[in-house]
Symmetry: C2
Subunit: 274 residues, 2 copies
DNA sequence: TACTCCAGTTATAACCTCTAACTAAAGCTA
DNA sequence: TAGCTTTAGTTAGAGGTTATAACTGGAGTA
């Protein structure tokens, strides 16, 4: 991963760093990232507190390492799931793999997607790996789109189930009302107007978001159906995260239902049969 | 809220407790809950550290107080939004109010819905208030459902846009495949089977979840359309939280799109025009 | 007036992160 | 091989945290 350790000193250094990280993961798995203590790790390793500062400049640097590892692990899990899945189940398997990993490693998931640590800011490499996860989603959706296009034949772009986005909403076709959907203004310009039917409204807002996405700088390298795929990927991400994070935080306990079924319902809404 | 302070001593006590809480909120708003320091608060109030332990037994008790206040505040914001909205925009206004409050008080939102504090567990009253928020959602969806039913007339239960759930999925009608949707078993029983079309799959999984909900103990007091409304409310909650929490954690920064439009798209998918 | 109770104090223990200064050993180089 | 340089690990200590124990003085009460 890093530069190859040629010196025996450097090799030893990397080894100790790995051992520290191992203990750190154990602590994080036990009590979360905020309970991570360099002092305790040092004691566990038979060292004295300040010795660890030879290997990590400070606590944040160790946390960064953990965050990066977690990102890479989740990215790898996703990549493997996507690679192993038959095309028809790729989305579902991605979603399943993500939830399974999150449930098996709740603190790793929360380390990535949970409440940010106050003083801490993620390193650029984390953004890169996160972008890789996102890109996998986007390409998966783009792939589904192109498969549907070729299956339906050219010239046929309408009908139920078409398009790549969630909820059966097609790619952005035509203008629609509700251009400014920012809820931050308290004016509510069309509060008295007739509310559109839910289905149309979903189409309109989705199409508006896709148009907005098509104006945005890249972060997705896929070309033609990009906005639709990007929107679908973002929706996938937020819906999956919505269920997983609330489940991990324990907000479903005591409600008596199986979160797996809610998750399945949400994943199915994203175009992935589960 | 609590018992009335009749003694001047008790009154003074309540007053100091409130002042402590005020400083605590300022700290939380500034740097998050993990940066909350009883010592610093005491210094700010011109007291010495241990003095605060006369008012709060420990840090967790203060955090509990903050969590309860945040819950109550969000519940009140939701209740007010629902009361002020015309029926057709009730869902949208609920969603808007929630996001607005979350963006205005990110640390309060994360205090409730973010990564749980390691040793800390929410008090029963928090569950009660959270249940109130949920109940408001369920009744709102039940109300929408009954309004649609009366508008469509008895005997008419089909057609696009019917039902109360998100994605235009109706209430659980009829059996469907995919009974056991728990992704935790690694066996993947029907991996080789033909994947159903997305729309059918969404219906099937949603119906399965609704059937599951109808078997679950109450936590929702609404009677007839309960499972459909409960599912819709849960879906509302998880989708709204998915977008808000990722936005608050800064995961959208650098992606260049306006989260408000993604949020609007999601809210529209939930049957709320925004 | 006398008594009780309690807010707030200091001292202290046990943690934490992190810096400074020092020791000793390991490895490189002439 | 001798000497030099680099560095792992040490102790000491500053400054922070939560939290407890014991004490003081004043405020409210009987």
């Amino acid at each position: 991963m890093a530069s190859a350790p040629v010196n025996p000193r450097e090799r030893y250094r990397q080894q100790v760093r790995e051992e520290i990280k191992g203990h750190a993961w154990a602590q994080v798995a036990g009590s979360g990232a905020s309970a991570l203590s360099l002092n305790a790790i040092a004691k566990l390793m038979g060292l004295s507190g300040p010795a660890l500062y030879r290997y990590y400049a400070n606590r944040d640097e160790l946390v960064t390492e953990l965050v990066l590892d977690a990102y890479r692990e989740l990215a790898e899990v996703n990549r493997a799931a996507a690679a192993a899945a038959i095309p028809e189940r790729r989305l579902a398997d991605l979603a399943t793999a993500t939830r399974r990993w999150a449930l098996a490693n709740p603190h790793r998931y929360l380390l990535i997607y949970g409440t940010p640590v106050p003083g801490y800011s993620a390193p650029p490499e984390a953004t890169t790996v996160a972008g890789g996860i996102m890109e996998l989603l986007v390409t998966t959706y783009a792939e589904i789109d192109s498969r549907r296009r070729t299956a339906a034949g050219p010239g046929d772009g309408a009908g139920p189930g078409e398009g790549v986005g969630p909820d059966g909403t097609g790619s952005g076709d035509g203008a629609s009302p509700g251009e400014d959907a920012d809820p931050d203004d308290g004016t509510d310009p069309d509060a008295g107007a007739e509310a559109p039917a839910p289905a149309e409204a979903a189409d309109a807002a989705g199409a508006a978001f896709e148009r907005h996405l098509s104006d945005c700088p890249a972060w997705t390298g896929v070309s033609p159906a990009a906005p639709a795929a990007a929107r679908a990927a973002l929706t996938f991400w937020t819906r999956v995260h919505g269920v997983i994070s609330l489940e991990l935080a324990g907000h479903f306990t005591g409600m008596g239902f199986d979160p797996a079924l809610l998750y399945a319902s949400e994943v199915a809404s994203l175009g992935g049969a589960i």
